[in-house]
Symmetry: C2
Subunit: 371 residues, 2 copies
């Protein structure tokens, strides 16, 4: 499956075929489910329905990094049910029992980068008669402005903020102390490389938070959920997800050693992904200053997907095929993922004792005066 | 090029290849250009910038039936330039010269049916740095609600309203007096068939106008431009566009006579298209009652495209391939359009004297109390 990819863009696999993201995102679905509770509580505690009804009676939701579905539909459905529940509770407890609450109209903005497969997303939308919202697609990177000022009430982003906007400076430069030629990811056990990745992460988060602060209404909510995180002090290479990157990298180096792909090409590949600790995120949000952290939770991310070789290798392929194909061309892709699956199977036992990724869920509220 | 099409949906050809709508819509582009003047005047005369700036300072535009571009981008660019010009004029003439007008933020909703090629549309958007608007795609039929109540300031629809939501009742029923077995379109010289088509058109326009009246802000504008129309009293079969349908139909009947496709299949094909007269449109809008007709113009539509066999047959293919393929399957498509091109070439002289389609452009304003 050949796809034309924009420079610096790494879409999830499109379509609804065997190796599509739509059919291989169970792991991400689990994370959406795990974030349900904190989102429900945030909506119950923090959304001001009365204020909303004073203005337009519309509730605008954005899902940032929605891919081609279907997880985005579950996430959005849950947000809408929570807002509806909040309305019902308010109506029940209203001291003026005759006061009629108007029905809220929902509009949902599904966002992803411009080369995301929006056609598949739209064709798999719940049908309009059973869908309690007007659906809209928004093409563009969330590391930049996507919406007019103060136009969105609730923003959600799940399984997305580990993707940086670009590969950090210097990690691809053989003359830099931050050169990361022996690895394709930020292992975390090399200080200069880790710093280069962290710096890029800081820049990206600042741009992300500033854009969202412009776009959200005053006191609008921003739910950043299923962020893959590290436990404090543990480098990524010692965590289940890090092992996946290690195996992907070692398959590439094996193929280079056999002359199938070039060694320089492998050395120059650096995945634009960063896994922060919860306190790194907290610090960046506080330093940015335009949001208050209303709720935050961390817990061990799902680990059982790693135990099923077939499922896990398809999830990995759906997420990383585009970036591999973009870097090495289409010819080596099948062979590469075949090798990766084999390597994962051979090392399966590792995934039973190993430290898991931390799942970080954070609910932010845009400060009224956010400058 | 095989496409899966939803029942009752007839998308323009997707992609950006040789037979794509994106590369074969010069005729529709000309109509967009022809409508520029009336749109500019409408914005200069009728948009209330002061009122806008009192509320949100956003200006939301929808283009209904945008296809996969690029004409929609020209139309939208023109609308934005006209609003910007209006702002500048107001600022210049403001009795309080220190009063600062805020910069308006534009958000553009590109709408088409769910099986439109939104991927191509998004990938051909002007790049975000040179684009003065936030872009959004809206999948769904405009014969129904697409947006929350009172959320759009300006709606535009060009080259679209000749498409009915469905094939009219009875024209496919061999036992009905409105059976249209000998033709694939509403020729206009059979009273029962013409009535069946007109009835469907009336129903569709009523649904269309009611939906738009809900979605537009009070006094919001609805520009219905490049509607293909008939001069009063002239049936479609006597007009250049009608000849195109006649030739399409006769190629199908030829292929049926040669046993390539089934005659019953040809008899059961009815293009869901209606070409109203200007006064039919006027009457429907007045009867609906939720809009005032602010400006209206008719003039002979472009005729020169019909004189270039290659250009015209590609325009026809880009617009009608989906519906033909959907009805007869993929095998006959190339042969069919080859025959059509030949037939058009053989009859080219007809297009020099013949009556042209009328281009109808109408600017409507949503009444403040639109119920």
């Amino acid at each position: 499956m050949e796809t034309k990819i924009l420079p610096g863009s790494y879409p999830m696999n499109g379509g609804d075929g065997e190796v599509s993201y739509a059919r291989n995102s169970q792991c991400q679905k689990r994370a959406v489910d795990d974030a349900k509770k904190i989102i429900n509580e945030a909506i119950a505690d923090l959304i001001d329905i009365k204020n909303l009804q004073k203005s337009s009676n519309r509730f605008l939701i954005a899902d940032l990094g929605c891919a081609a579905g279907p997880n985005t539909f579950f996430a959005v459905q849950n947000i809408i049910e929570a807002v509806d529940n909040k309305c019902k509770t308010m109506q029940k407890n209203d001291p003026e029992p005759d006061h009629q609450y108007q029905t809220i109209e929902y509009q949902v903005f599904f966002n992803d980068r411009i080369d995301n497969d929006f056609n598949t997303l739209f064709r798999s939308l719940p049908c309009s008669s059973s869908r309690p919202y007007f659906a809209v697609g928004v093409p563009g990177s969330f590391y930049g402005r996507l919406f007019p000022k103060q136009s969105i009430h609730f923003m959600h982003s799940s399984n997305t903020l580990n993707w940086l906007s670009r590969v950090p400076d210097h990690v691809g430069d053989i003359n830099s102390p931050a050169w990361n030629g022996n690895s394709i990811f930020c292992r975390g056990d090399n200080k200069e490389v880790a710093e280069a990745y962290l710096n890029q992460y800081k820049k990206d988060m600042e741009v992300f938070l500033n854009a969202r602060a412009e776009e959200l209404v005053a006191e609008g909510l921003l739910a950043l959920v299923a962020v893959g995180g590290r436990p404090s002090g543990v480098p990524l290479c010692q965590i289940n997800m890090g092992k996946t990157y290690e195996f992907l990298g070692s398959c590439l180096f094996d193929m280079a050693a056999e002359g199938i792909i070039s060694k320089e090409k492998v050395e120059s590949l650096n995945l634009p992904q960063y896994y922060p600790t919860a306190s790194e995120m907290e610090e960046l949000i506080n330093k940015n200053g335009r949001f208050s952290i209303e709720k935050m939770e961390t817990f061990p991310g799902p680990g059982e997907h790693f135990h099923n070789v077939q499922t896990w290798s398809m999830i990995v392929r759906a997420g990383f095929e585009a970036i591999v194909q973009n870097h090495f061309g289409n010819e080596m892709v099948d062979e590469f993922f075949h090798r990766y699956t084999k390597k994962h199977a051979e090392n399966l036992s590792i995934f039973y004792g190993i430290t898991k990724l931390v799942q970080i869920n954070i609910i932010l509220k845009r400060k009224v005066c956010s400058k």
